[in-house]
């Protein structure tokens, strides 16, 4: 346990000190890693802990982004006021989907299909919603700023890096607490065997809804971040199924259901993606699709050789687990 704490402390110091010796490009990559680490961690609550596969988590990113973004765009209401609304809206959407699915016994892959369907409905709805700009997108007013305006969530890149670092650390702490709580035990029981869980007095329906609500609410926060970091929102982009898959990959590659897997997975995938781009351009290879092929082969390798993800065997190597 002390060994884990020491490693975590070293990691935390490195992450906090990182901007001092990193350039602008490295900082943007690091922010991206943290963004994916946070979002996939949120997805992991639902799938990794409670065993409910969502293939439509882009829905909650989008709801969060549009809720906070539209409030700011139309009413000038800042992200801090928009944040609770975004979280509530996404959690409510998650609970509605979950209640519908679980009441009618939709589970497993069918539940996963339903999550895709809802993300797609919502994408189409936003395509036709002129209040948020429809397919043409919504552009948040941007001011170039070198000073940090915490209230408006505006500042230089380093500000967004630290915001994302705080979110990722907060998500890790929350997940750690959740996993060791009554909810965590009940979720895992449901994940492992629903009938056995029921026979032990667990109200499966309610606990599953709680998992979705927390997961969706957490994901909405990354949507708010997305809105104020990129400042433009397109339904086609943000609700895209590809985005949902992107969110999932970090956990799958790092280790579904683990605490550090999502972070490791997000780092590996982002560095891999950027690394391939960089090395291909350095080598002067401009064959279209070559990046995707290399990326795909590496993913295949992980799935075949590390079916539980990168983290579990890595944790054993580091002496953190048996």
């Amino acid at each position: 346990m002390t060994r884990a704490a020491a490693l975590l402390a070293i990691l935390a110091v490195l992450a906090v000190a990182f901007p001092w010796f990193a350039g602008a490009y490295a900082l943007s990559i690091a922010t991206l890693i943290l963004y994916f680490a946070y979002t996939t961690q949120a997805w992991n609550v639902m799938m990794g802990f409670a065993g409910q596969l969502s293939l439509g988590h882009a829905l909650y990113v989008g709801i969060g982004a549009y809720a906070a973004g539209a409030l700011f765009f139309h009413l000038g209401i800042g992200p801090w006021a928009g944040l609770p609304l975004a979280v509530a809206a996404a959690a409510l959407a998650g609970v509605a989907i979950g209640a519908l699915a679980f009441r009618f016994g939709v589970s497993g892959v069918y539940f996963a299909l339903l999550t895709i369907a809802f993300a797609e409905f919502t994408r189409i709805a936003f395509d036709h919603l002129s209040w948020t700009g429809g397919p043409g997108g919504m552009f948040l007013p941007v001011e170039q700023r070198d000073t940090i305006d915490l209230l408006a969530f505006r500042g230089p890149p380093i500000f967004y890096y630290y915001a994302m670092l705080a979110l990722t650390a907060g998500a890790l702490a929350l997940c750690w607490r959740l996993l060791g709580s009554r909810a965590g035990y009940y979720w895992q029981a449901i994940r492992e065997d629903e009938d056995a869980a029921r026979a032990l007095g667990i109200a499966v329906f309610r606990w599953k809804l709680l998992a979705i609500a927390i997961s969706a609410g957490m994901t909405a926060i990354s949507g708010v971040f997305f809105a104020f970091y990129y400042n433009n929102l397109f339904p086609e982009q943000i609700f895209n199924t590809g985005r949902s898959i992107e969110i999932i990959l970090g956990s799958v590659i790092g280790g579904v259901g683990t605490l550090f897997g999502p972070i490791v997975g997000a780092a590996v995938l982002t560095l891999l993606s950027e690394g391939i781009t960089e090395s291909l351009s350095a080598l002067g290879w401009a064959v279209p699709g070559s990046k995707q092929v290399i990326y795909g082969v590496v993913l295949l390798g992980v799935v075949v050789f590390l079916p539980q993800g990168i983290w579990p065997p890595l944790a054993r190597r580091l002496g953190l687990a048996r």
Partner: protein
Amino acid sequence: MTALLRATGLAKSFRGVHAVRDVSFEVAEGSITALIGPNGAGKTTVFNLIAGVHAPDAGAIQFRDRAIHGLRPEQVCAAGIGRTFQLVKPFPALSVLDNVIVGALLVERKVAAARTAARAILGKLGLDARADQPAAALTLSDRKRLEVARALATRPRLLLLDEVMAGLRPTECDQLVEVFRDLPRSDGLTILLIEHVMRAVMALAGHIAVLDRGEVIARGAPAEVVANPAVLSCYLGEDTEL
């Protein structure tokens, strides 16, 4: 003794096939009662009606003077009835201890308290040495014990055991019989078991109800029941070892 569980006129059919019709029996508080009968007699259906897996088409189930028929499985468990599954259902990726903690969390809301309770139960069932192993790594005999440990952790008044001896070697069976024999005295527990292994039934049960084709054809003390001609002809046959 008063009846802890009373089933009256239970009926259940599946797609027109009568699995159980007009089944009535009682389980006395503090007793070990066995429900026996040939395959397809309706034992598992009766069991599932009590455990809340199915709702009966007709009839009533009273538990501690409260109607429990039609409740969902988790509500039946919360009412004080723990069950095991014939085909064991451990939480394979969780450790043996964590499996039992899940059960204990029904009564102990704090994980630390649940852990203490779970350890005590693992000790009672001789699983303490396996506490930190994943449940997936256990032998069948230990999985059956885990099944019982997990159900006991919910602190039931009535424990339903579904063919818990099936597939065990005679020595393992005898060891488990010793555990069960002890429970009514030490925990104030009542046990209702479905069992094919007559060796265990005869060693444990103080009362037996015999089901055949969805109906109760005999009930009473073990010695009376096995001497009953109707039971012998329908179920036990001549070559049954007792």
